[in-house]
Symmetry: C2
Subunit: 147 residues, 2 copies
DNA sequence: CTACATCCTCTAGCGACTAGAGGAGCAAGA
DNA sequence: TCTTGCTCCTCTAGTCGCTAGAGGATGTAG
């Protein structure tokens, strides 16, 4: 009895763009969907919930593999939520590191901009700081992305 | 009289990996380099400085196009550094937004994790919050990446 | 009946690399 | 001198998460 909708309506309802929805089906995040006689995909209430779940998780920065794991958990509500918790915790660690790096970077950029006296490139702090890594005080390293 | 070094030594000195250095040459961030008789690239002091500049700028999150612009400025130190300043300012705006988004996201993740009572998936806040977007209070929108 | 919107599949492109195949060059030790 | 083993070369293809476009079929409103 679930009133099925087209991919366009599913896109509006879930906030996931039409080509992205098809892409999710292609990579197996969404199941292969039933079709109309005219070969158009039909989305039921459950599919819309799944799409919204995916979108929200993506917005929270979860990778597709993590979402796959979360969806598998969701499909089987009897099991322990330990895995879900772990995935979220791992993501939190990443996010904290990223914030730390970006905060360091923000300082660096502010320092660069404040030092810029709007003169010639020869004396420009922006160029100078980028050129001379010795000026950089908070090296965070690979992936940390700050200075 | 500049003692030229191999790509491997250039990699060590600059902190840019060997294949990445070759990639930078390919996309024109580095000039085509002089070669030995045996067709090996030779890097002089100026090239090493350029590589270090690129690495540092990349670590600060500048895109390749921005770096191209900065390098062009650097190659011509007589001109006004207005452009460099603008590039840095634009980047600062991005970084600030990104920090704001990530901070919101951090809160969301902490809320999810705190709510998780380590029971069954059926009652798990992690899954629940991801599934129910109504639970999300700080939607930041596209590119902002938070909730 | 005719526009026009929406859908379909398929392929290619984005950014910034990274990985691997398959081969050549080069320095040091036996 | 030869061989071992490292570095180097070019080239292609893969990564991630989409996005864009071609070229065609279907559905709907006037």
């Amino acid at each position: 009895m679930s009133k099925d909708v087209s991919i366009g309506e599913a896109a509006k309802a879930s906030g996931v763009k039409v080509p992205t929805i098809r892409f999710y089906e292609q990579i197996g995040l969404m199941p292969p969907l039933p079709r109309t006689e005219g070969n158009r995909r039909l989305y039921g209430a459950e599919d819309l919930r799944r799409l919204t779940f995916i979108r929200h998780a993506r917005e929270l920065g979860f990778e597709v593999d993590a979402i796959r794991a979360l969806l598998a958990l969701q499909d089987d509500p009897g099991q322990s939520c330990e895995t879900a918790d772990e995935i979220a915790r791992a993501r939190l660690v990443e996010v904290k590191q990223r914030i730390a790096s970006l905060t360091a970077l923000k300082k660096e950029l502010e320092r660069m901009i404040m030092g810029c006296s709007h003169g010639k490139v020869g004396e420009c702090r922006v160029i100078e700081i980028l050129a001379d890594h010795g000026e950089c005080h908070h090296h965070v390293g690979p992936k940390g992305t700050a200075c």
